[in-house]
């Protein structure tokens, strides 16, 4: 493989040029493709702040070799909302319930909750705790995050989401 490759992110092809092939998907998203929504916390899969969907599966983008994701459908937090900066139901719920303080862990948590609600629209509290067990928050606290998930479920979850959110998660692709 040459050091030029194409990644399909949020329904659009992105060219990656002159990159070292050992770069993580997280690095390429943030520093080469201008998609800084996924956060770089631990770079070892511990904190979940870089969570994205690859072919519909929630993974830590720091543990994905970007060059190995060629031909796969990558969905980042940037694609969850609708057009004109509209937020998804999950994102709205994080705001309305105060589930955002410093905000660093929020994109990863939003992705994890989005993924949960795609698979399981009416999760129990235990399901929710399990689903966010790989996302570390050190300042907001998990109480408000759990409240946000309950609010999102009450507001229709990902089915009621604006824009591409539902489609992005369900099939791992947006239009």
């Amino acid at each position: 493989m040459t050091e030029h490759y194409t990644l399909r992110v949020n329904g659009r092809d992105h060219e990656v040029d002159g990159a070292w092939l050992g770069e993580s998907l997280l690095y390429v998203l943030r520093d080469r493709l201008g998609l800084p929504g996924s956060k770089s916390g631990c770079e070892q899969g511990e904190c979940g702040s870089c969570s994205v969907l690859v072919d519909g599966g929630l993974v830590c983008s720091c543990l994905v070799l970007a060059a190995s994701a060629v031909g796969q459908e990558i969905t980042t937090v940037e694609a969850l909302g609708g057009p004109h900066d509209a937020m998804s139901v999950v994102q709205e719920a994080f705001v309305s319930e105060g589930g955002v303080q410093c905000g660093f862990c929020t994109p990863g948590l939003v992705m994890a909750v989005h993924d949960l609600l795609v698979r399981n629209p009416e999760p129990t509290d235990l399901d929710v705790r399990e689903a966010i067990s790989g996302n570390l928050c050190r300042c907001t606290g998990y109480g408000r995050v759990l409240a946000a998930v309950r609010a999102a479920v009450g507001a229709g979850g990902v089915a009621g989401a604006a824009g591409a959110a539902g489609a992005a998660g369900a099939g791992g692709r947006s239009e």
């Binding site: 493989m1 070292w20 092939l21 050992g22 993580s24 770079e43 070892q44 899969g45 511990e46 979940g48 969570s51 599966g57 929630l58 993974v59 830590c60 720091c62 543990l63 994905v64 070799l65 060059a67 190995s68 060629v70 031909g71 994890a112 993924d115 399990e130 689903a131 067990s133 790989g134 996302n135």
Partner: protein, 287 residues
């Protein structure tokens, strides 16, 4: 640096053959940590995550369950596979987080061969066969021949882990996996123990993790339990003796995660607990 992303096994073997010394990348949960933190600058990577043959599992003609190396922890936890290999499902549930379980694979667990690998005590307890493939043909090794030491395996250059094979759990069998760590999620085992109870064969098997350089069996404890269990009722006197024999078979060390003494204590407690759960099932059948 080169990166190959084959989708067929033959192409993966070709890629390995044409780039000697290439790193095999499965779920990335081990290799990418080493890359990100600067320790490793691989010259070549063969990413096997999309090799179709490695993603499959099934029950073979001889009744054994063959699990492709690329089967993820999430897949181990689900549906019919979880019913056939409940110990592997239980071990998979304790791995990392949803994100890690979606990426990490059973083949990766074997290839990394960490003393703390969560599926390894279960594979040890089930006398798993490790199936390897290379241009020279297939090889089959026992788990104990495959894992030769901490993060050391018998894998040869150019060879890939194709699958593991285990006997299925049948009615009445229990496969427990218990693990001690600082929290439930995202934890590397301080000590772990798999206890397999197969009443129809009057068999008990014990695999241990994080208490030795590689997964260990507690064969004296197994034999003692098989001889002392009342197989009609599931009753067992002196379960403490079982725990003592398990602890005796452990070879733990002090390190940054725990101490030799605590690990030896913990693995005995886990083994007793696992056996008790298994025997409860027999009592249930008798009633």
């Amino acid at each position: 640096m080169t990166v190959a992303c084959p989708t067929r096994l033959e192409a993966a073997l070709d890629a390995l053959a044409s780039t000697p010394g290439a790193h095999v990348l499965a779920g990335g949960t081990d290799l990418m940590v080493e890359v990100n933190h600067g320790g490793r600058r691989p010259g070549a990577v063969v990413a096997v995550g999309r090799v179709a043959e490695l993603r499959e599992w099934g029950v073979e003609d001889d009744g054994m369950v063959r699990i492709g190396a690329g089967v993820t922890y999430t897949e181990l936890m689900q549906g019919a596979l979880a019913a056939l290999a409940p110990g592997l499902a239980e071990a998979a549930r304790t791995v990392g987080s949803p994100q890690i379980r979606n990426a990490g694979t059973i083949g990766g667990n074997l290839g990394t061969a960490s003393p703390a690998g969560d599926t390894l005590p279960v594979l040890a307890a089930l006398d798993a066969e490790v199936h390897l493939v290379s241009p020279d043909g297939p090889r089959r090794l026992s788990l104990s021949d495959f894992i030769t030491g901490p993060k050391r395996t018998a894998l040869r250059p150019g060879e890939l882990i194709a699958a593991v094979r285990v006997r299925p759990a049948v009615d009445g069998d229990t496969q427990e996996y218990l693990k001690v760590g600082t929290r439930n999620a995202m934890v590397i085992a301080v000590a772990s123990c798999a206890v397999v109870v197969e009443p129809s064969a009057r068999r008990v098997r014990v695999g241990m993790g994080s208490v030795g350089p590689r997964p260990l069996r507690a064969t004296d404890a197994e034999a003692w339990a098989e001889g002392h269990i009342d197989w009609a009722t599931g009753a067992l006197d002196r379960a403490d003796e079982f725990g003592r024999l398990v602890a005796e078979a452990a070879r733990p060390i002090d390190d940054h995660r725990s101490t030799e003494a605590y690990r030896r204590h913990a693995v005995a407690v886990l083994a007793r607990r696992g056996l008790a759960r298994g025997l409860r099932g027999i009592g249930g059948m008798a009633a």
